[in-house]
């Protein structure tokens, strides 16, 4: 079982995920480099992802689609900002529009992955940076929680009334 530590910083709008795997660094790196492996864990269990493009080089782009339990479909892309095999890579993750291109005017987040040998396995650290609270909300809607936004509205109303 991987040791997972998650630090959330609601003021800086960042999240750090630290996980320890028994597999060597090259093996973990490979899980990200190979789209057939990546799609087996990238989407949430109820929103599996399918990568239709995966150019794992600086300036390269990946495109993926996630499908929801009720037939919803949501497209996303990675833009590789840096790739330093097998130590680290950084991507910009955003929405794909209907035309299969990065959607204009939609938010994106930055994810930096680092891998290092640790205790005979691999320690993976991912740092996600969000541009704003609104962007976080929109990015979450990229699938999973359809009801989230309306529920948030209700909560804001309750709090405002208090």
């Amino acid at each position: 079982m991987p040791v997972v530590e998650i630090h959330k910083d609601p003021e800086a709008l960042t999240m750090t995920v630290i996980a320890q795997f028994a597999a060597p660094v090259a093996r973990v790196w490979n899980a990200y480099a190979d789209p057939r492996q990546l799609e087996r864990f990238w989407g949430p269990p109820s929103w599996p992802a399918k990568f239709v493009r995966h150019d794992f080089v600086v300036g390269g782009r990946s495109e993926y689609y996630m499908s929801g339990p009720n037939g919803e479909r949501s497209g996303g892309y990675f833009e590789f900002v840096s790739v330093d095999e097998p130590r680290s890579f950084e991507v910009k993750d955003g929405f794909l529009g209907e035309d299969g291109r990065p959607a204009e005017g939609m938010p994106s987040m930055t994810m930096r992955f680092t891998f290092e040998p640790h205790e005979g396995g691999t320690r993976m650290v991912t740092l996600t940076t969000f541009p704003s609270v609104e962007a976080m909300e929109q990015l979450l809607k990229m699938g999973m929680e359809e009801g989230m936004k309306s529920a948030m509205g209700q909560i804001d109303a309750v709090l405002a009334a208090g």
């Binding site: 609601p10 028994a22 597999a23 949430p44 909300e137 989230m148």
Partner: protein, 144 residues
């Protein structure tokens, strides 16, 4: 389902670790079964479902207060008020900080509350992702 149960159990554990001595508001089953309703929302609605907690929240949103100051205002024990504050804290509605021997409770600004709730959603996604990656790595170890 088992994978998700494991993820839920793990995040439940983390919750326990981050607030020692406090019972999680949610039951294990709720978290597993109600995939559509994130634990965080349940926690939030749970926190707001009690009139004392709403009252405490309204007070500390106006001005910070220590737990003992709050306890003086309600017909309940210090420990009971402390429990209410802990529920509000887990729902990201208030924060507690030490001020000498006293603990001061402050209402969280709305933006921080929202950011916290949203980050918890991303946390769940990442938990699932890590579990999936772990499973994938385990399988290929056996297969090769």
């Amino acid at each position: 389902m088992t994978k998700q149960s494991a993820a839920a159990a793990r995040s439940q554990n983390m919750e326990k670790q981050s607030s020692p001595g406090l019972r999680p508001v949610l039951s294990y089953n709720q978290m597993v079964v109600r995939r559509e309703s994130p634990a965080d929302l349940d926690r939030l609605f749970g926190a707001l479902a009690d009139s004392t907690r709403r009252d405490i929240l309204a007070r500390v949103m106006k001005a910070d207060a220590s737990v003992s100051e709050l306890a003086e205002r309600y017909r309940m024990s210090f420990a009971a008020v402390q429990k209410h504050v802990a529920v509000l804290e887990r729902a990201h509605l208030v924060t507690k900080r030490k001020d000498g021997r006293a603990q001061r409770v402050a209402g969280n600004p709305k933006a921080v509350q929202r950011a916290n709730r949203l980050l918890s959603q991303f946390e769940q996604i990442w938990q699932a992702r890590i579990n999936g990656l772990e499973e994938l790595l385990g399988k290929s170890d056996q297969g090769e």
